[in-house]
Amino acid sequence: MADNQASAQQTSAHQISAQQASAQQASAQRRSAPTVIVDDVHVVYRVHGSGTGRGSATSALGRLATRRTLPGTREVHAVKGVSLVARRGEAVGLVGTNGSGKSTLLRTIAGLLPPERGRVYTDGQPSLLGVNAALMNDLSGERNVALGCLAMGMSPEQVRERYSGIVDFSGINERDEFTIHMPMRTYSSGMAARLRFSIAAAKTHDVLLIDEALSTGDSGFQRRSKERIEELREQAGTVFLVSHNNTTIRETCDRTLWLESGVLRMDGPTDEVLAAYEDFAKGRK
């Protein structure tokens, strides 16, 4: 811990905050201000038409007749009582097997998915990296850049300022000047992914939440996008990163959370948590 404090004072940005360790030796801890506080959060999804048993119309009618409430509705308890504190300058990784609640937790921190119980407190507005949902395939790349930027809350002036930067970064026009004026549905999947990333990464955020699939496109673009994420990370106060690539987590995050079926199983320095998680993943094979 003494090492940690020394290095934290030197670099001041990359401070290691091992919650569990620090809880034991409390007094005279020096840390930066918290930016995200998650207090015993539960998230429940309600899934309609999940087809309980025989999913036919007659069975649905039967359930209606027998007055069983809300036919075909199922509750999925995706996050079960997670608590944590993240501080300014931290990069926090999230690991866990598929369906363990990582993305759900991110969305709840961002305030996009209301928790069933518990609260999330944040400094400013945390933002999820990604604009895919706002884009329309039938529109040209050009109009999608504008639409995506406006959807992220930019003003029309900001969109004009950043437009050429976004197009250049995506490299869409490398081969043909006219590509950006074509409908996005005519793009190859790689090209579309590059444009989507370029739009999403055009804005800087206080608290940035990144969900997987960072590296899209060919190797040249992968390198560029990695650099861009590093920039965003440095500009952001706090970063949360969900990834199945443990190398990415090791390179980016000093602290890691391990979620398993909605429960926070471990929270600590990346090396320790990843070691435990990798052991666990091996055991499942």
Binding site: A33, Y121, L150
Partner: protein, 309 residues
């Protein structure tokens, strides 16, 4: 490392004595650093400011929907004009030719087209509003913006289409011998009032549709029933003549009927002012304000819930 977004807490470089924090309950820790509940509903004035701040997104989204609507059709944007024309043709065939309504109303075709186009603006707004939240869940779960932007944008999208059909309507009305009069100046105010009314209804239905997903299946039947009560194909006075007094008043106060009647009055000289129900302008503006503001407030009250789905 400091950047403009930081408001409440010290910049990241500053380390604080936080030794006593580990025992602090989360809500007190949050209060100490001025952290706010994520995804909480803002006050109504703050919410309205947010919507206003996003007005460029709203218009861009509405226009994008309009452009992408016929993007795959070979005739493309020509369908903006063809769709209302074909609609008018179908109704003429059924009500004008088959059922012979055309003999009871003077200049039936402009009369019918005005009714159809004005009503379909309200109908389409209600339908689009009902699906506004449910159909855009992925957008709602990905980005921050006041959710009222979606129903508002979809209503504006319908308004854009209505402007196309109003253009078509003007041509039809003139082609059937109605003269261009000063009364045409009443068209914009009627459209504004109707848009406000539709927006409020779309907002209210968006909240209902978000909570009860079956509403999207049910609403088409409701709007179709409403259509037959609104005097779209026939003169409503043939109904109100024989109806008891309260029912007649109720039929005449029907907002869809109010906007249709006003639009007919504005466009057609053959519709005299004596055809207008009493207090028609009070009704038109009253409906717009009551439903417009009421729907907005009703939608805002569930703002933090819309991501749940």
């Amino acid at each position: 490392m400091s950047h403009p977004g930081i408001r409440t807490s010290p910049p990241s470089g500053v380390l604080l004595d936080t030794g006593d924090e580990d025992d602090l309950p989360p809500h007190l820790l949050a209060a100490r650093y001025g952290l706010e509940v994520s995804g909480a509903r803002p006050s109504l004035p703050a919410y309205t400011r947010q919507v206003w701040f996003r007005r460029h997104f709203v218009t861009a989204y509405a226009t994008a929907r309009l452009t992408s609507m016929y993007a795959n059709a070979r005739l493309g944007q020509l369908w903006q004009v063809m769709t209302p024309l074909l609609n008018a043709g179908v109704y003429y065939l059924i009500f004008g030719v088959l059922m012979g309504t055309r003999h009871t109303v003077t200049n039936f075709i402009p009369y019918l087209c005005t009714g159809v186009f004005v009503y379909s603006f309200t109908q389409a707004s209600v339908l689009a509003g009902t699906r506004a939240v449910q159909g855009n869940l992925s957008l709602i779960r990905a980005l921050h913006f006041p959710r009222a932007c979606l129903p508002v944008a979809l209503t504006l999208n319908q308004l854009q289409q209505t402007l196309f059909s109003t253009g078509v309507l003007a041509v039809i009305v003139l082609a059937f011998g109605e003269p261009l009069t000063v009364r045409w100046l009443l068209v914009p105010p009627v459209l504004v009032a109707q848009t406000l009314f539709n927006m409020g209804l779309a907002l209210a239905m968006a909240r209902v549709g978000a909570k009860y997903t079956d509403a999207a299946q049910l609403v088409p039947f409701v709007t179709r029933t409403w259509l037959y009560f609104s005097g779209v194909f026939y003169n409503l006075t043939t109904l109100t003549k024989h109806a008891p007094g309260w029912a007649g008043t109720l039929l005449e106060a029907n907002p869809a009927h109010v906007y249709i009647t006003l639009m007919r009055y504005a466009l057609m000289r053959s519709v005299p002012a004596s055809n207008l129900p009493p207090h028609v302008w009070v009704l038109a503006i009253g409906w717009a304000l009551v439903i417009g503001i009421g729907g907005y407030v009703y939608f805002w009250q569930a703002e933090e819930e819309y991501g749940r789905g």
